[in-house]
C-alpha cells in the first residue's frame, strides 16, 4: 500500500506543526550560513530565513494566512521578549541615569532625521502616497509601527515589511558606519542601532555585547513611544494627513 501523499499534505498544510517547524528549520539553516560567513553582518539570518520560507510558500502555493497560523507561535514571543528588555536595561541603569538627557535628545533628533529622510526620498523618487505613508514609522518595532501606519493612512502589513527590511539594513550596516564616524563606545553604538533599527538592531547588538544590546533595547522603547505620540501630530501639523 502506498501512502496517499496528497491527503497527508492536505492535512499537514493546515496544521500549525508544519509551518512552525519550517520556520525554525529555515532559521537554523540561516544561522549555519551566518556562522560559515564568519558572522558577517551582511549574511543576515532573518533575511535568509525569509527568502527560504517565501520560496517554499510560493512553490507549494501556500497562502500567507495558512503559514502564519503555525508561525504565530514564534511571532507571539515578540511580546514577552519586549518585556524582557527591562532586565539588561536595569543592569545599565547607572550609565542611563548619568546621560539621560543625551539619550533623550539623540532619540528625538535621530528618529526625526530618519523619518523625514525616508518620506522625502521616497516622495522625490516618485513613490505612491500609500508607500510614502507606510514608510514613515519604519524605524519603530513592528507592533507599534503597524498601529501608527493604520492611524496615518498607510498599509499596516506593508509597514511590517518595511520595518523588517529597515532592521536588516540597520543591523547589517551599523558597525561599519560607526567605525567611519569613529564611535567606539558600545552604549552609543547600541543606542543608534535601537533608534533606527528597533528589535533587529537590538538582536544584532546583543550578539556584540550585553551593554550594546541593553542600550539598543532602551533606544527601541524610547523611539517607539516618542514616534507613536509625535508622528501622527507632526503629519497633521504639516498637512500630510
Amino acid at each position: 500500500m502506498t501512502p496517499d501523499f496528497t491527503s497527508i499534505w492536505v492535512y499537514l498544510s493546515t496544521s500549525p506543526l508544519l509551518w512552525l517547524t519550517a520556520t525554525l528549520l529555515a532559521y537554523q539553516f540561516a544561522l549555519g550560513l551566518h556562522a560559515r560567513a564568519k558572522a558577517s553582518p551582511l549574511v543576515n539570518p532573518v533575511m535568509i530565513a525569509v527568502v527560504i520560507l517565501v520560496t517554499l510558500l510560493a512553490l507549494t502555493n501556500t497562502p500567507y494566512r495558512n503559514y502564519f497560523e503555525g508561525a504565530q507561535f514564534v511571532h507571539f514571543l515578540l511580546g514577552p521578549a519586549t518585556v524582557a528588555l527591562a532586565i539588561p536595561l536595569y543592569q545599565q541603569l547607572a550609565k542611563l541615569r548619568r546621560h539621560w538627557f543625551a539619550f533623550l535628545a539623540g532619540t528625538l533628533v535621530g528618529s526625526t532625521a530618519a523619518v523625514a529622510a525616508a518620506m522625502g526620498i521616497a516622495w522625490l523618487l516618485g513613490a505612491s502616497p500609500a508607500v510614502v505613508l507606510s514608510l514613515a514609522p519604519k524605524s519603530v518595532t513592528t507592533p507599534i509601527a503597524m498601529g501608527i501606519a493604520e492611524k496615518i493612512g498607510g498599509l499596516p502589513s506593508l509597514t511590517a515589511v518595511m520595518v523588517i527590511v529597515t532592521g536588516i539594513v540597520g543591523a547589517s550596516l551599523a558597525q561599519f558606519f560607526m567605525r567611519i564616524i569613529k564611535i567606539r563606545d558600545d552604549s552609543i553604538c547600541g543606542f543608534a542601532m535601537g533608534v533606527t533599527a528597533h528589535g533587529l538592531g537590538t538582536a544584532r547588538a546583543f550578539q556584540v555585547s550585553a551593554e550594546m544590546g541593553a542600550f539598543a533595547g532602551l533606544a527601541m522603547g524610547m523611539t517607539g513611544v516618542l514616534t507613536a505620540v509625535l508622528l501622527p501630530l507632526a503629519l497633521k501639523l504639516f498637512g500630510v494627513i
Binding site: 532559521y27 532573518v46 533575511m47 530565513a49 525569509v50 520560507l53 500567507y64 503559514y67 502564519f68 514564534v74 511571532h75 514571543l77 511580546g79 514577552p80 521578549a81 519586549t82 518585556v83 524582557a84 527591562a86 532586565i87 539588561p88 536595569y90 543592569q91 546621560h99 543625551a102 539619550f103 535628545a105 532619540t107 533628533v109 535621530g110 528618529s111 530618519a114 529622510a117 525616508a118 521616497a122 523618487l125 513613490a127 505612491s128 514608510l135 524605524s139 518595532t141 507592533p143 507599534i144 502589513s157 506593508l158 515589511v161 518595511m162 523588517i164 539594513v169 550596516l173 564611535i183 552609543i188 543608534a192 542601532m193 538582536a203 546583543f206 550585553a210 522603547g221 507613536a228 505620540v229
Partner: protein, 110 residues
Amino acid sequence: MINTFVILLLFQLVGEVAAHGFGLPIPGPVIGMLLLLLYLMVKQGAAEKLAPTAHGLLRHLSILFVPAGVGVMLHGQRIADEWLPIVAALVLSTVLGMVVTALTVKWLQK
C-alpha cells in the same frame, strides 16, 4: 524558567490592559517593559533571578521577526513596481538616522 515566563507574561498582560483601558498609543509590551524596570528598581535581587531566561530569550530575538518578514509575499507586486524609491529611502534614511543619533548622543555626553 517557568517563573521568569510567568513574570514576563504578567507584566505584558498588565501593559496590554493599561494600553487598551486608557486608549494609549503605546503598545502593551512596551508599557510592560517600563513597569518591569520600575519593579526591578524597587525589588533588590529580582533582576539576577530573571536574567538567565531573559538573556536566553533575547539571544534569539532575531527569529521572532521571521513570521512578519515572510509577509513580504503579500506585497510582491507593489514592491516590484516601486522598488527603487523603497530601497533608496530605507537604506539612506537608516544610515542617516544612525549617524545623526550617534553623533548627537556623543556630543551631548561631553
